[in-house]
Structures are given as structure tokens and as C-alpha cells.
Subunit: 114 residues, 2 copies
């Protein structure tokens, strides 16, 4: 069996977790330009998408997502500079695991059935 | 906020996952010498501990855990050579993330509130 996916969850302080769901949501907000559209893309309820955004904005020094609710065209949202940095660090960390961890991942894969 | 824990889940093939729960269970079996004692140590039901053991033994070429059920002193269990290798690869991979990923983890940590 080959490695199909790798999920990395980072726990900080008492109760903040940053993992693949939040990273994908940041990426979807950057691509879609709105929290509701990003939530739909991820098959996540509007409420859940907003809760994750609020949790991220509360945990970091600067908000990661800048959003305007309502208005004639509905609300829009974009990543802030801090949001782009957080996403970049997380994606780079995933790449480190795949690259620097390749020998260990291969070692595990070899021990699995085909 | 500082990093308190890192959880790494590896998905293989269609539906096999190896992550911190299975790694900790292997470690507990090695330490306790029995699946039921390992399950208790991890606050996991006996049934769940056995299910995880069976899933691991089925997914790898060679069984990871060698166990004898029942008998006068109750069953005993130990890691096989393959079990010890799988555990070592996983722990080494966690260390790779912490070491090779230190700059990215620091980058994230710095952006978090204190």
C-alpha cells in the first residue's frame, strides 16, 4: 500500500489546534474570496466555516481573514498578510515531512502489504 | 502560545491509517506485555485495543503483535520484529517533523498570541 495522505495537527497552548481543515479553509477563502463559498467548496456548513475563522482570528496576534459581511453582493473575504504566512508555514511543514521524512515513510510502506 | 503536541496521521491505500493512537498502543503493549493491560493504560476498551491490534496485524506483511489468549496467567502479548520496526519508523518520523520542521513551527508560533 502506498501513502495516500498525510495529516499533521499542531496543538498550541491549552486548546488551539491548527491542522489540515483550517489550512484548507484558508486556501479556499483565498481562492473563492468569500467564507460562505469556501465553506461550500469544503462541504462544510456556513456556521462551521465561520466558527473556524473566528477561532483562527482569535488565536493569532493579527487576524488571518479580513471579511465584510452582507452588502449588495454579499460579504467578501480575503487572507491577510498573517493569514498568507500561516498557510505558507503549514504547507512548508507538510513538505518537510514528505521530504525529510521520506526514508521513514518508505520504511513503513515497505512493511505494509501490497 | 507554544506547541504542546504534534499529531501525525499517515493514510495508506484505500483505508488504512497509522497515527499516534496505534503507535502509543504498540508502545504500551511492549511495556505492559499484554493487550488488555495496554488498553487499560491508554483508557481504551479491551474491544477497541483488540480491534486496533487486528487492523495492524492485517495491514502489514508480518504481524506486529504476537499474542496468546487466556491460559492460567491470562494472555500475554509482545511486539514482533516488524512491530518494533513500525514503531521506530513512526517515532523517527515524528522527530523529523520537530527537527527539520523547527523553523516552520517557530514561524507559526511567533504569529500566535502569547
Amino acid at each position: 500500500m502506498d501513502l495516500t495522505r498525510l495529516r499533521l495537527r499542531l496543538y498550541f497552548g491549552e486548546d488551539f489546534m491548527f491542522g489540515p481543515g483550517k489550512a484548507d479553509l484558508l486556501e479556499a477563502i483565498a481562492a473563492e474570496g468569500s467564507i460562505s463559498a469556501a465553506g461550500r467548496k469544503m462541504k462544510m456548513s456556513y456556521k462551521r466555516a465561520w466558527m473556524l475563522v473566528e477561532a483562527m482570528n482569535a488565536a493569532f496576534r493579527d487576524p488571518l481573514i479580513d471579511s465584510t459581511r452582507g452588502g449588495p453582493q454579499g460579504g467578501g473575504a480575503r487572507l491577510t498578510e498573517a493569514g498568507a504566512q500561516v498557510l505558507a508555514h503549514y504547507r512548508a511543514l507538510e513538505a518537510v515531512v514528505s521530504d525529510a521524512g521520506a526514508a521513514q515513510i518508505d520504511g513503513l510502506t515497505t512493511l505494509l502489504k501490497d
